[in-house]
C-alpha cells in the first residue's frame, strides 16, 4: 500500500538487511522487515521532520533530518504486524506509507496443548495435540512449518507424525498404546520442543471370571485377578458387583477390588444363580444347588 501527499521527499534507501523496497515514492520504506532486524527509511528534501512508525503492536517516533537515512538498529521493531509510516515536516504537509514486520523465521517457542492427561489404553485417536509456533519475540509464525509429534511409551513403542502448520497451527491425533504407564508426548520444530505427560490407565475389565466355594451357610465368591483385554491389571478400588438371584429374591453386593481381586460371602440359596459384573462388563454365571 502506498500513500503520497504533496510533501516531496526522495532519495535512496540504505538497507541493513535484505529488504525489498516499495517503488515510486519519495519516502522509501521497506516492504517487509523481519522482526528484530535492522532497517532504514530514507527521505529527501531538507529541514527537520518527525517520523512516526505506528502499529497496534509498537509505536516509534524519531526527529529526523530530511534527505538523510534514518536507521533503526536491530531490535527496534520486533512485533509482527502492519505499520504505518508517517513523515511530517514542521508547518508542511505529511507523507505516509506502510510496511509489514514479519515474524522471525527461527521458531523459539511452541504452545502445545495435549489432551487428555489420563486415558484408558488402546483408544484410537484418543490423544490429541495442537501446536502454535512462535518466534523469539512471541510472534505467531504463520508460514508453513513442519511440526513433528512423537508419542513414546515406557515399553519403547513410538508413534510419529509430521504435520505442517497452517496459519501457524498444527494438530494431530494419536492412539493410546496397549500398555498402561506414563507416555511422553512431544512436539518438535527444529531444535525447539515441548513435552507433555499422558498417563495411560487400564481399560475396562475383560473376561471377568469368578469361582464359588461353600463354607457352612455361606458361599465364598472370588474373582480371578481382574485385567483388561491387554492384560493390564485393573486398579484396586474398581467396583465389582455380585448378584445372587434365587426363588423369591435377589441380593446384590458391590465390592471394590483389593490386590486385584474381589471377594465376598453371600448366603447359600439352593437353585440360586450368581453373576458378576464390573460396570457394563458382564462376567460368568454360576448356578448353585445344595
Amino acid at each position: 500500500m502506498k500513500f503520497r501527499l504533496p510533501f516531496l521527499l526522495g532519495g535512496l534507501a540504505v538497507a541493513t538487511t535484505q529488504l525489498a523496497f516499495a517503488q515510486g515514492g519519495s519516502m522509501r520504506v521497506p516492504k517487509t522487515v523481519e522482526a528484530g532486524s535492522a532497517f532504514s527509511i530514507q527521505s529527501t528534501g531538507s529541514g527537520q521532520a518527525t517520523l512516526y512508525i505506528i502499529g497496534p503492536a509498537q509505536v516509534l517516533k524519531r526527529n529526523v533530518q530530511l534527505g538523510e537515512t534514518t536507521t533503526f538498529p536491530a531490535g527496534s521493531l520486533y512485533n509482527a504486524g502492519r505499520y504505518l509510516v508517517v513523515l511530517t515536516a514542521a508547518g508542511a504537509s505529511t507523507e505516509s506509507d506502510s510496511f509489514d514486520v514479519v515474524p522471525a523465521t527461527q521458531p523459539a517457542k511452541l504452545s502445545f496443548l495435549a489432551k487428555p492427561s489420563r486415558l484408558p489404553v488402546s483408544l484410537h485417536d484418543g490423544i490429541t495435540g495442537a501446536v502454535y509456533v512462535f518466534d523469539p519475540y512471541g510472534n505467531l509464525i504463520a508460514a508453513p512449518t513442519p511440526v513433528s509429534f512423537e508419542l513414546s511409551s515406557p515399553a519403547g513403542t513410538v508413534q510419529k507424525r509430521v504435520v505442517v502448520t497452517k496459519d501457524g497451527a498444527a494438530w494431530t491425533g494419536m492412539d493410546s498404546t496397549a500398555q498402561q504407564g506414563i507416555d511422553k508426548f512431544a512436539a518438535r520444530v527444529g531444535d525447539v520442543s515441548s513435552m507433555r505427560v499422558v498417563e495411560q490407565v487400564p481399560g475396562d475389565p475383560c473376561a471377568l471370571k469368578m469361582s464359588a466355594r461353600q463354607s457352612g451357610q455361606q458361599l465364598q465368591l472370588a474373582t480371578d485377578p481382574v485385567r483388561d483385554c491387554n492384560g493390564n491389571a485393573v486398579p484396586d478400588g474398581t467396583i465389582v458387583t455380585f448378584t445372587e438371584s434365587y426363588r423369591g429374591g435377589q441380593s446384590t453386593v458391590d465390592v471394590p477390588l483389593k490386590r486385584g481381586v474381589a471377594e465376598v460371602e453371600m448366603p447359600v440359596h439352593s437353585g440360586a444363580t450368581i453373576s458378576v459384573a464390573s460396570g457394563v462388563v458382564m462376567g460368568n454365571q454360576i448356578g448353585w444347588e445344595k
Binding site: 500500500m1 500513500f3 517487509t32 518527525t50 512516526y52 505506528i54 502499529g55 497496534p56 503492536a57 509498537q58 509505536v59 516509534l60 517516533k61 512485533n79 509482527a80 504486524g81 502492519r82 504505518l84 508517517v86 511530517t88 505529511t94 505516509s96 506502510s98 509489514d100 514479519v102 515474524p103 496443548l113 489432551k115 485417536d125 490429541t128 495435540g129 495442537a130 502454535y132 512471541g138 510472534n139 505467531l140 504463520a142 497452517k166 496459519d167 501457524g168 497451527a169 494438530w171 491425533g173
Partner: protein
C-alpha cells in the same frame, strides 16, 4: 448448518466516532481439526472478536491499558499494553476505526481450548500527537487471530497482521 456466506452489520463494531458500523462478512468454514464447531460457539467467537476491536480502539485512543482487560489476554494483551505505554511516553494517541471485516474461522483445536480466525480488515488509523491530528490513513491488513475461552467469553490471545 452454515450458510455459505453471511453478511451482517456489526452492531458491536459500532464506532465510538460518529457511530459508524463496520460491515462484517463471514466466510464459509474451511476448518482444520476434528472438533465440530457449533453455531453458538461460532457466533460467540465472532461477537467477542468484533467487540475486541472496540476495546482495542478505545484503549489506544485513550492510552488506557485497562480497557483491554475484558477482551484480550496473554501475548496480545501484553503487546497492546506495551504499545499504549510507548504512545503515552511519546505523547501520541492513535485512533483505529474498523470499516470492514472479512472473517474466516480456520482452526478449532481438538480439545476446544483455542479458535483461530483470519480477518481481512480495513480500518482507518488516526495519529494524534499532543492533541494534534498528524495523519489519517486507511489501511488494509490480513490478521491472524487466536482466541481462547475465558469465564463467559472468548478473549483474543494472538492478534497479528501478516502479509497476505
Amino acid at each position: 448448518m452454515f450458510k455459505p456466506l453471511l453478511i451482517l452489520s456489526a452492531t458491536l463494531a459500532a464506532s465510538a466516532y460518529g457511530g459508524a458500523q463496520a460491515s462484517v462478512r463471514v466466510e464459509p468454514l474451511t476448518l482444520q481439526g476434528p472438533r465440530p464447531l457449533q453455531e453458538q460457539t461460532r457466533a460467540a467467537v465472532i461477537r467477542d472478536y468484533l467487540q475486541s476491536w472496540q476495546s482495542f480502539s478505545a484503549a489506544l485512543d485513550q492510552n488506557r491499558p485497562a480497557l483491554l482487560d475484558a477482551d484480550f489476554v496473554g501475548t496480545a494483551k501484553e503487546k497492546l499494553a506495551d504499545t499504549i505505554q510507548q504512545q503515552a511516553a511519546l505523547g501520541v494517541r492513535t485512533h483505529y476505526q474498523d470499516i470492514s471485516h472479512d472473517l474466516q474461522i480456520v482452526f478449532y483445536s481438538p480439545e476446544g481450548l483455542s479458535i483461530e480466525l483470519t480477518d481481512n480488515v480495513e480500518y482507518n488509523v488516526q495519529v494524534i500527537d499532543h492533541d494534534k491530528v498528524t495523519a489519517t490513513q486507511r489501511v488494509s491488513a490480513h490478521y491472524v487471530v487466536v482466541l481462547t475461552p475465558a469465564e463467559v467469553s472468548w478473549r483474543v490471545r494472538v492478534f497479528q497482521a501478516v502479509p497476505e
